[in-house]
Symmetry: C4
Subunit: 274 residues, 4 copies
């Protein structure tokens, strides 16, 4: 890989295993981590299912703590082996790594308070680390570049949707409010308008008066057309983005670019243009 | 900015603050206005929530009137400082500005009649003024040009949808009418057809007979395909529109074009081609 | 217009008024017809609303018969003035014209049988004649050409959807059948699968078992991706079609091409290339 | 056709009839097979409708066995006449052919166990054989190539959707869990999140708390934008794929390429470039 081995061979070795994925040890570590993250998420999920929790509570607790301790050790080793420790700790993945172990320790101190479980849900963000493996990063960047290039169009679109939702929500509150107790306030009517314009349509709130149904029908057809705008935007930007980076991921499959910056143009390990 | 200061420096100064956004004072004014509009919309919304209204009625009323008086003063100053007063008053934003203060005063004279609140909902259109800030206008114009270019295709599409809805609504009324009291009349069946073809699907009205469910299934698959048409239209037109105006908003970020006409090609303040 | 006036000036005059829309009389006739069609559809719709029917039954019946007689006269005059009578009678519009008056006369003979009202719904197809006006036809043809060019891809897509629906419907019947009486048979489960895959989601039938909800979730994500295919197809074909016919409708707005064949390249009245 | 008739004329003849569709006999065989497959699927479906099963049980059973025996014979003849028997048996269609007859024979031995009916649903895959007819295969390959080219983008997209679903599901469980018994566990909340983000929206589970409704609204708008990504991907790839294979199916309609490999470039019967 042509990296100059520094004075600390252990730290360098750990860096290769933990942060990179192009050595057998590094790849193996990432696969194990991936499985543990999925397992951990699954355990948190199963703990909330009453029938499972009753029977396997002890097993789930034991497994959860085992994974938490493994992740804690991993986090300490990451800080130790990182080339730039401060930048790792305050990077996106650094914060996610910390947040994915913290709630477990906090729950020890404040046992009765189950509200702290809210933070525990953030542990699910560990799944993001899976994306670091392989050629997926470049494609993510193409997708991300396409989204970033359309951010103004998307803002205009979202503002339009919000104005439609505000006006339609208020109008429906005034029309349906008296005949239909489901349209209890403008915020709830706006919730209904979002449910309708996005074509989700739960049906928990639905118009009952003829005028209300007529306006709802107009909102649906409007939503139908509005739906076309973000799709068009993303299509155009994706066509643009894929013209600039055509089929790069398949060009050099052996060199997995797992530590590049978002705006990197050359692979920093083998020098290939990305 | 190179504008010749006219004989009325106050009026010119007010114009720069109220209508433009490229001086610190002008930008500050627009930001305050933006916050007040959002606040005002929020107050109208909260007034309809029974638990909030009971406790904070007086506060909400006071805040609403304070904002209304501010908007009234602003409206008067806009007329005073506008370069072309008549064209401002009858412009889209001029009418919206007037309509956003009128309902408050009308509600003074006709207190008991809560039906006038319907017009008050139009006050929410104030949010549109937010769009005047910054580079968003150009992107709006690209979106708007794309929609205008496809207006004939969209009309053909909407007519097709309406015919499908008419025929399907009538057919379902005849098939489901007797077995299912929800399909009470052709207008209600048409409302169901729109709910279905736009994939909203509330479920408040749903077919129960086997033939009705079969026809509903056909309508859904049809809607599936029909949904593709507006998306395709907008995608093609957006691709066309973005070829003509590629990446203009980011070219000159310092010169915010907040008072250009829709069809302007050159920035009228710094002469840059838009 | 350059048409050689034949030996029957009345018939030629009628042809211009009834079939064409580029003379003041022809345009006026088409507008009146358009209003009468909409009125007629509205009357049929209102007849099914019980509150309206009770009070205005006589008025609605009278108006319906007046329009029916007008359409009958118009149909006779169309046959009389058509350049090629046989081809008109058996053309799409000729059949629609006949079907839009027939049910009224049949309902005279078989009064008690309200099942004949089913055919009456076809009268709504009259709305199609509106499309004959102005430049909309060309755009319709572009849309139509785009759809025709993708007919094989659409068939493959629909077959895939049907196979998914068959398999998913059967699977859900086997899984949910015992726990959930809503999944009563495979046809009903297939109806549910169509409601789900098209993202309509009424909620009248919904999985209740964990395995059923898991399979339903997979079907939804699958439907999400499958939804992208027809949109992509139509977008690509529309981009192709609009490259071949760029901005033709706006090129010659004064010459309304209301009687061209689908595959016409030159306007047969003024010779302009379409 | 230019095929050298081998030493076994019967086997060669059978191959032409059963595997190909460019002789009158081969086309006829395929059409009959197609009808029988549809009939067989219909019979399995109707057997689950209680009203039909009560009256026509014997007829349905008889018809099902007749078709099963015909398919068994056909399967034996396919193995006999196949050019490469092993590759046929282990090909996708070979396995589907076997699986579509096996469940019927297994149900003989284990009569009481209705769980085996699960496998019977796979018989519906027979419908896939219809696709072998005519020019549909090439278009399928274009669609398939488009999907394969986007597999990385689709994986990134699906991972993003899953992370959103995990986090939103957990958050909603914590927020709604106490007030709303429908959000009973994280897995069920995730099921709700998928139902919402795909805009299916059954409404069997819907938020009731203001905060829950607010987060649900954000999830819907998010889903709205996320929906645009796969559509954009497929549109771009379809545009790419159709540039490489423009209008091939209509070029040589007489030579039906029903036995080509996915990556074939030349028709192996008439040598035309595909």
């Amino acid at each position: 890989m042509g990296l100059d081995t520094s004075s600390q061979p252990l730290r360098e070795k750990l860096y290769e295993i933990i942060f990179e994925a192009d050595t057998p040890a590094g790849k193996g570590f990432d696969v194990i981590l991936l499985i543990l993250i999925l397992l951990s998420v699954l355990i948190v999920m199963l703990e909330t299912v009453s029938t499972i929790e009753e029977n396997y509570m002890q097993l789930l607790l034991w497994a959860e703590w085992a994974i938490t301790i493994f992740f804690t050790l991993e986090y300490i080793l990451r800080i130790y082996s990182a080339r730039n420790r401060v930048s790792y700790i305050f990077s996106f993945y650094g914060i996610v790594d910390l947040l994915s172990i913290l709630p477990a320790y906090i729950s020890l101190a404040f046992k009765g308070t189950h509200y702290l479980l809210t933070i525990r849900a953030l542990r699910l963000l560990r799944v993001f680390r899976i994306l670091k493996l392989g050629t997926y990063l470049i494609e993510s960047q193409v997708l991300w570049a396409a989204l970033r290039a359309s951010r103004i169009k998307i803002t205009v679109f979202l503002t339009t949707v919000l104005i439609i939702v505000c006006i339609m929500g208020s109008t429906m509150y005034l029309i349906e409010g008296e005949a239909n107790e489901n349209f209890a306030s403008i915020p709830i009517s706006m919730y209904w308008a979002i449910v309708t314009v996005t074509t989700v349509g739960y049906g928990d709130i639905a118009p009952v008066t003829p005028i209300g149904q007529f306006i709802a029908a107009i909102l649906m057809i409007l939503g139908y057309g509005v739906l076309a705008v973000p799709t068009g935007i993303v299509s155009v930007e994706l066509a643009h983005a894929s013209k600039e980076h055509p089929y790069t991921p398949t060009d050099c499959p052996h060199c997995t670019p797992d530590d590049h910056d978002i705006d990197a143009v050359f692979c920093k390990f083998c020098g290939t243009k990305i």
